[in-house]
C-alpha cells in the first residue's frame, strides 16, 4: 500500500536539524542480529549527524540473517553492505570468497587482538561473554568457575544453549574443548554435565526466562541478559568464571560490493561505533564497551576486568562438524 511506502521513506531520514557532516552521502544496508531498538537508535543518531546518508535495516536471529544473506547470494547478489551478527566462522567464509571489505578504523587501533579479526575484516564494537548465571532463591553459594556447576546442586536443573542452534554455544564448546588450550575444561566437563542430566534450550532468551522462573537453578548464558534482568529485580545473578569467560564474537564487517560513496558512509559508520557516546549507549544496554571509559560509574565491567579464554578460530571452523557429532554422542538425542 502506498501509505506504507511513505512511512518507510520517513525512516530513511534524509535531513536533520543538527546537520554536522554535509559532504557524506551514501546508502547503508545493514544486516544484523542485534536488538532492533538499539540498532535503530544508533542508526537514527548516525544519519542525523550525516544527513546525506540513508539506511535500510534487516534484523533477525543470526541463523535467519545468515540464511537470507546466503540465499540472496545464491540468487545472484545482495544489497547488504554492513554485516553485524554473531557468526565469526561465516564471516571468514565470506572473506575467503573475497566478499568482505577490510577496514580498520583509527579508533580501534589500540583494541586488544582478541576483539579484532583478520586485519580489518571485522571488529567487536562491544563484547558479550558466556558466563554462569543462577537463580538466587535456589542457590545460596554462587558458583565461581565452570566446574562448580557440575555439582549435585544442579542435578537436572542446569541448562546450556544447544550448540546446534546457538552460535554462542558453539563458540563456547569450541573454546572449551580446544586441545591446545591449557585452561580448557575439556570434554570431561561436558561429560559431567551429561551425567548430571543437563537441559538444553535453543536460545539464550529462554535460558534467562527459565532461570528467573526457577525452572532451572543455573545456566551458561551470555552476560548481558542476566545483568539486565538482575537490574530489573529478578532473582538472578551471574559470575564471570575465574578461569576465564568465553568471548562470543559478534563482529561488525563491511561487504565489498559498495560504491565509493557508500563505502565512505560505511567507514564513517564503523568509526561512529567507536565514538564514546555510542559506546555509552552500549553500556546502557548492559554490554561491555570496547572503550573502557564508557563504563565508568556503572556496574558494567570493562574488557580489562574480564579474563577471556583464548579462542582459535581456525580450530572452530575446521572441527565444528566433528565437535557437534561428539557433543551429540555424549548427550544423545531423542
Amino acid at each position: 500500500s502506498g501509505s506504507d511506502d511513505k512511512s518507510a521513506d520517513t525512516d530513511k531520514k534524509e535531513s536533520s536539524d543538527e546537520a554536522t557532516n554535509d559532504e557524506l552521502k551514501g546508502h547503508l544496508v545493514i544486516y544484523t542480529s542485534e536488538p532492533q531498538d538499539l540498532v535503530t537508535e544508533m542508526l537514527d543518531d548516525f544519519v542525523s549527524k550525516n544527513p546525506g546518508v540513508t539506511y535500510e535495516l534487516f534484523r533477525s536471529g543470526t541463523g535467519d540473517v545468515k540464511t537470507k544473506l546466503s540465499t540472496e547470494l545464491d540468487a545472484g547478489s545482495t544489497d547488504a553492505n554492513v554485516l553485524w551478527f554473531a557468526d565469526l566462522g561465516y564471516m571468514y567464509d565470506l572473506d575467503d570468497q573475497g566478499l568482505i571489505y577490510h577496514y580498520s578504523p583509527e579508533s580501534a587501533k589500540d583494541l586488544p587482538d582478541t576483539y579484532k579479526y583478520n586485519d580489518g575484516m571485522g571488529h567487536e564494537v562491544r563484547a558479550i561473554y558466556s558466563v554462569l548465571a543462577y537463580n538466587t532463591t535456589q542457590i545460596d553459594k554462587a558458583p565461581k568457575d565452570w566446574d562448580d556447576v557440575t555439582s549435585d546442586d544442579y542435578k537436572g536443573s542446569l541448562a546450556i544453549a544447544n550448540p546446534a542452534y546457538s552460535g554462542g554455544a558453539m563458540t563456547t564448546l569450541s573454546v572449551h574443548v580446544e586441545p591446545d588450550n591449557e585452561s580448557t575444561v575439556g570434554w570431561d566437563w561436558y561429560q559431567k554435565l551429561a551425567d548430571n542430566d543437563v537441559k538444553m534450550e535453543q536460545s539464550n532468551g529462554t535460558l534467562l526466562t527459565k532461570v528467573a522462573s526457577g525452572e532451572y537453578k543455573g545456566a551458561v548464558i551470555v552476560d548481558y541478559l542476566p545483568r539486565n534482568s538482575k537490574n530489573e529485580g529478578s532473582p538472578i545473578d551471574y559470575v564471570y568464571p575465574e578461569s576465564g569467560s568465553v568471548l562470543i564474537p559478534t563482529p561488525l564487517c563491511l561487504m565489498d560490493n559498495m560504491s565509493d560513496e557508500d563505502k565512505a558512509a560505511a567507514e564513517a559508520f564503523v568509526d561512529y561505533m567507536f565514538d564514546i557516546e555510542t559506546q555509552k549507549l552500549f553500556v546502557q544496554q548492559g554490554y561491555v564497551p570496547m572503550i573502557s571509559e564508557a563504563a565508568e560509574g556503572t556496574e558494567v565491567p570493562t574488557i580489562d576486568d574480564i579474563k577471556v579464554l583464548p579462542m582459535d578460530v581456525n580450530y572452530m571452523r575446521e572441527n565444528s562438524g566433528s565437535m557437534l557429532e561428539k557433543f551429540t554422542s555424549i548427550f544423545g538425542a531423542q
Binding site: 521513506d9 530513511k12 534484523r59 533477525s60 537470507k68 542452534y165 552460535g167 539464550n204 538425542a333
Partner: protein
Amino acid sequence: MFKKNGSNSSRGSLAPTIIWWVVVAFLALSVIYPSIRLILNSLKVGDGYGLDNYVTVFSDPGILRSMKNSFIVVIPATIFSTIIGVFLSWVVVRTNVPGVKYWKRLLSIPYFIPPFIGAIAWTFLLGPVGYFNKFLMNTFGFEQAPMNIYSLGGMIFIMSMYRYAVSFIVVLPTMKRISASVEEAARISGASPWRTLRDITLPLITPSIMGAMLLTFMFILADFGVSSVLGAPNQIHLMTTQIYYMINNSTIANNLQVASAYSLFLSLFGLVGLWVYNRVLATNKFVVVSGKSAAVEPTKLNKGPRWILFAILVIFFLFTTCAPILATLITSLTKTYGLPFGPENMTFQNFAQMLQIQNVARAFKNSLFLSVTSSLVITIVTMIIAYISIRGGIRGVKGVKFMQMTVVLPYAVPGVIIALSMILAFSQPIAGVRLYNTIWILLIAYIARFMNLGYNNISGAISQVDTSLEEAARISGASQLRAFKDVMLPLLKSSLISSFFLVVAPTISELSLSSLLWSVGNETIGTIVFSAKEEGRILLTAAIAIILIILVVFINLLVNSQTDKD
C-alpha cells in the same frame, strides 16, 4: 475441441473461465514459480545439480530420528484433536446443552492464542515449576513434579489440547447444515443420539472431518512453537525443529539445500492426504443441503446427560482456554519476572513498554493488513479452486488437480523454507519489477503458505450442497457465476467465515516467514515478538500476546455478530 456454433457468448459466459485463469496466474506467481526455484535449489550440489541432498536426508540418523519422532507425536495428536474437536462441535450444534450460543465462540478461542505463547503458557501450567505441578506437589506432597511435559507424551497432550480448535472451527459449520430429517430417520429406526452421531452425522460430514484431520495433521506436522519449546530441554527433535537445526548449522555442507530437500519431502505427506481426500470428495454421498427443507429442532437430551455435557464443556474450557490465557495474562502483568505474582509485583508497565517499541503501531497495522488481506485472498482463491474441482463443468478450465496440489502442499513446508524460496524467486527484479523488500512479498508468502487452511475447510462444505439448488438458479436465468453468488455463496457463508478465521489467527502473529522477509516500513508483529523473545523479554512477549488474542477474538466477535442470523 468444440466446433464453434454461433457466437461464443450464447454458449455460456466466459467469466468463470477467466476467473479460473486469473487464479492460475496468481498461483503461478506466488506458488509455482517460487517452488520451482526451491526445487532447483534443493537439487543444487556445488556448482552442479544432483540428488545428493536427498541422499543426505535419508542417510542422516538425526533426520531419520526426527521423522520417527514426528510421527509418534503427530498421528496420535491429530487423532485426539480431531475427536475432541468433532465431539465438541456436535455438542454445540446438535444438542440442547445449556449456553449453546456462547460455546460456539468460546471453544474456538485456543486457536487464536499465538503458538509462540501457547506453548510457553502451557509450560507455565504444566512445566516442572508450573502452577498445576506446584498445586499437585503441594496437595499430594509429591517430591518431584508429577508431570513431565518435556517429552513426546507431553507434546501429544499439549498439541491435542491446543489444536482441537482446528477441527472444531472446520466441522462446526458443516455440522450445522445437516438436515435434521436424516438424523430423525435414524432415531426413529431405533438409534440412540450417540448411535445416530456415529452412523449418520459423522459419516455425512466425512469430507469435513477428513479436511479437518488433514489440516490438523499438517498443522501439527508444521508446528514449530510447541515442538521447539517442549522438545528443546531433552533434545527431542521433530521434523520441523530438525530443519531449523539444519538451517542454523553451517557446519553441514549444503545445509540450506539439504533443509530444502527435507522440507519438500515433508510436503509429500500432504500429497498422500490430498489424494485420499479427493477420492472421498469425488462422490455425491454427502449432500445434505437439499431443496426440501425440514424444520429443525436440536436433539433433545435428557436432563442428566445435558448437564454432564455442560460440566464437561466448562471443565474443558477452563483447562484449555482460561488457564493458558490466565497464565499469559498474569505474566504480562508481572513487574519482576521470577518473583511471586501479587499486588506488589503487578504492573501495566509491560504494556506501556510495548508502546514504546519503535514502529510498534506500524507493525500492528502491517500485520493487520497482511492478515486480513491474505485471509480474504485465500478464502476466495481456495473457494474457487475447491468449487471447480468438486463441481467441474466449466469449459476451458484445465489443470484443476495440479492447482489443488499447489494450494495444499506448501503448508507442510516450514515457513523459513518458504521464505527462502521467496528470496530465491524475488530478490532479483523480475521484468524490471522488484517485489522484494516490499510488503507485497510478505503478502505473497503468507498466501502461499496458508492457502491450505482455506482449501481443506471449504471443500467439505461445498460437497454438502445439492446441485439442484444451483440448477434452479441457472434455470431462472442466472449465469454460472451469478448462481454461485446467489445460492452457493450464502449457503457457504459460515464456512467461508471460518476459513477467514483459520487464516487470520496464524497470519497475524506470523513469525518464521516474516523474520526473513520483512524490511524497514514493513515490520510485522512477528518480528517484534521474535526480537523480544530472543532477548528473553518474556513479560513483553506475554503483553503482546494478550493484545493479539484480544484483537483476534474481537475481530471474530465483530464479523460473527454481523452474520449471526443462521
